[in-house]
């Protein structure tokens, strides 16, 4: 049983070159190439790539969830540098991961090319001549008839042709072969995988992806500086961002109110107003998950949402030093959110506030203040205050969600850090006239992802091609059928029909039987003939 079904090794490479012969440099290269393109190496590389992907799902990934990477690094200070050394926080763009898949694709190209050549030749060659002893093949039928040899041969030729076999008549034998599409499909599949890799590369080079947090009532214009995070390919020029702008008018959410999935989101609607080019008429769009907004080839997706409590901060001089919404980041499914308010313009000292926003606040005896429902039912802001130097003038980039307290002092009250839970409209007063903070109310924010990937169309086409090729290579079976008519003398003819499947197939027997039945209509079996 020869199973060449999925082998990517050229036939000739199957046999190792004989004996230990001294190899010259060229010979060594050839040997290396042989090794690399051999099926065994391809298998090992496949396994390695599989194993390599595993840490990418178990270790937090920078490209997927940077926040969890930071958490992991804080929790495992000894382990993190080692992880970093092996790019474990960025497995899928790690050099070793790239090495595996590039080797795999070189190996793949190295066997697809010679196999394509071989397949091209095979699909133009005649089907191989009938083996001498047809009855020894796995599927064989014989009978005798009174029909003359040429009639049987002609009938066999027509029958095989009608079944769309590639047919060759040599003397009194007819050879037929079918199922070349199997190898074609196999090659298409592997070439499509190469194309897919190219499409991914195109997307990375010419595409961009950015995310931006937009608070209700505010907006953003599509420029690199407007984004919170932005990744662009090296081939993306400054002018390639389409010049749209949008504003988040309102954001509505509906949550499951009861049952075992209480609090699960049911609907997110971001009502946005957008202009595709400066000066164009603003248009309305109801942005939802699975319903991206498309503006001139750029797609805008609704990715996340949260709360931005609004605060008014007065400093020690009594002047309003800050007023407005501050986005807090949700930490759990009930939107227990954390955030900071930085007030660098406060006098005499800068002020900073750290705290929680709880849409449905409860004081848990164990876990402290938490939210028990994601929607606004009992909104509270729990704040502590810091005074000193926020460190914003140091020049080092700072997270807007974290307070750098190295040069700050926490405001104390009665020997304990000042902490207060505020309902909307309530004010927390810092002791010693250092200032006040008023919790004015709350707004929603949404994170939008904006992306452009010119490689996605080619990637889809490659994937579809790969799927078609795969199906052909798995479901078409390559098989050969031979019919031989031999003159036994005395007006009798021996008819032999035999088939050989080159792949696991149980349908060949039926096919040969079918063909035999058809032939017997012409080459009628002799009544006294005993079938084997």
């Amino acid at each position: 049983m020869v199973d060449t079904a999925l082998s990517t090794a050229p036939e000739a490479d199957r046999e190792p070159p004989g004996g230990p012969v001294a190899l010259g440099p060229l010979g060594f290269l050839r040997w290396m190439w042989r090794q690399l393109t051999s099926m065994r190496t391809a298998l090992i590389l496949l396994f390695l790539l599989t194993l390599g992907a595993v840490p990418g799902s178990l270790v937090p990934q920078q490209g997927v969830n940077p926040l969890r990477v930071a958490q992991f690094k804080a929790q495992h200070p000894a382990l993190a540098p080692w992880y970093e050394r092996f790019s474990l926080f960025d497995v899928f763009s790690a050099p070793w991961f790239a090495a595996i898949y590039l080797l795999l694709f070189i190996s793949l190209a190295g066997c697809v090319l010679p196999r394509s050549r071989a397949h091209w030749a095979a699909s133009r060659a005649r089907p191989p001549a009938a083996p001498r002893n047809l009855s020894r093949l796995p599927v064989a039928r014989t009978w005798t008839t009174t029909a003359p040899v040429p009639v049987v041969v002609e009938a066999a030729r027509t029958a095989l042709r009608a079944r769309r076999f590639r047919v060759d008549v040599a003397g009194t034998a007819v050879a037929g072969e079918k199922g070349y599409l199997r190898e074609t499909g196999n090659l298409v599949f592997h070439v499509a995988l190469l194309l897919l890799l190219v499409a991914v590369a195109v997307g990375n080079l010419w595409g961009y992806k950015g995310s931006v947090l937009v608070t209700q009532g505010s907006g953003f214009s599509n420029t690199v500086s407007a984004y919170d995070t932005f990744r662009q390919g090296v081939a993306v020029g400054p002018g390639s961002l389409s010049p749209f702008s949008l504003r988040l008018d309102s954001f509505s959410v509906r949550y499951q109110q009861d049952g075992d999935q209480r609090g699960a989101p049911r609907d997110f609607h971001a009502h946005v107003m957008f202009t595709s080019t400066p000066g164009a008429t603003p248009r309305r769009y109801d942005l939802r998950v699975n319903h991206p907004l498309v503006v001139g080839g750029t797609r805008i997706f609704l990715l996340g949402n949260g709360y931005a409590p609004e605060f008014t901060v007065r400093d020690g001089t009594g002047a309003v030093a800050f007023s407005g919404p501050v986005p807090f980041l949700p930490r759990d499914s009930n939107n227990t959110s954390t955030g900071v308010v930085k007030v660098p313009s406060a006098r005499p000292t800068q002020l900073g506030f750290e705290g929680l926003f709880l849409p449905s606040a409860v004081l848990d005896p164990v876990r402290g203040p938490i939210s028990v429902f994601p929607d606004e039912r009992l909104p509270r802001a729990v704040l502590t205050a810091w005074t000193g130097n926020l460190g914003l003038d140091a020049g080092a980039p700072q997270s807007v969600y974290r307070l750098d307290t190295t040069r700050m002092a926490q405001v104390q009250m009665g020997g304990r850090p000042l902490a207060q839970s505020l309902a909307p409209g309530q004010t927390m007063t810092l002791p010693g006239g250092q200032g006040t903070i008023r919790f004015d109310g709350v707004r929603r924010w949404a994170t939008l992802q904006v992306s452009r990937d010119p490689g996605k169309g080619p990637a889809l086409v490659s994937a579809a091609l790969a799927l078609v090729g795969l199906m052909l290579s798995l479901f078409v079976s390559r098989r050969r059928v031979w019919v031989r008519a031999s003159d036994l003398g005395g007006g009798r003819t021996l008819v032999e029909v035999a088939g050989l499947a080159r792949t696991d197939s149980d349908r060949l027997g039926d096919e040969v039987d079918d063909l035999t039945a058809g032939l017997r209509a012409v080459a009628v079996q002799e009544p006294f003939d005993e079938e084997d």
Binding site: L43, L46, D260, R266, A464, L474, F475
Partner: protein
Amino acid sequence: MASETAAQLSNNLLYCAMVAYAIAMFCYAAELAFAPRVRRAEPALVGSGAPASELPPAADQGDGAERSDRLGRVAVSLTTLAFGLHLGAVIARGVSAGRAPWGNMYEFSVTGSMVVTAVFLVLLARKAEVRYLGLFVMLPVLLTLGLAVTVLYTKSEQLVPALKSVWLLIHVTAAIIASGIFTIGFAQTICYLVQDRRERRPVEQRGPSFMDRLPPAAALDRAAYRMHAFAFPIWTFAVIAGAIWAENAWGRYWGWDPKETWAFITWMVYACYLHARATAGWRGRKAAYVALFGYSTFLFNYLVVNIWLVGFHSYAGVG
């Protein structure tokens, strides 16, 4: 409320189906156990086209064979009945939720195990010699359903916004079908490995075993391969459909989310299996182990990734 009635009906139908599956499983087991122990002649040379499993005609074996055969037929009838109840449960669940009934792990498990039974019944209807598989199919189906009704159960509810898409129908259906077929392939692979070990021993050292009722190792291996080869493109399609959906929902078609990563791993391992089967030195047992590994990555993706690894695909509805 009508939707709650339908959900209750779905639960009741499912419990009935589980009872029928359980009885069917015992019948399949009894069929194997009570069958007369025939020492099958070793096939001298298994041609690729020759039907490899030829059990001696039942008539030669007298009462034992007849009783065993009757048990087998009862088991098949019960399986069909159980499938009907199971299908009813899935439909009722869909009616109660007003959507495709595979929006959380409970529903995926219930529908997925139904597909396993459906594939098995299709194989039976195609007159393939697969009744021996009954026990090995009922077992995972019952285990899955047991896990579903105890641990994974979630009330019939609406979906989270990310799942409200036509791609739920396309992507998840393909994943369910592929996993159902992989499950059958997994059962056949286990049978193959056991049978192959048995066949490696000299005939006189083999004790009587119900494994004698199973086809020879080579036939089991081929059958398992065919299942995997059938499921693999469906899995491929599921991954591609998932990528299209991800592009539509999150703005990127591939982002190495844990679920995506493990779907890729499963795909790669099964690709390894298909390649290994065509490589000298890997054919046979080694390839079979690769297939088992592939199924375990699928299980890992389903059970561990869904529940414990945080990602975009956290729709389990458990906990």
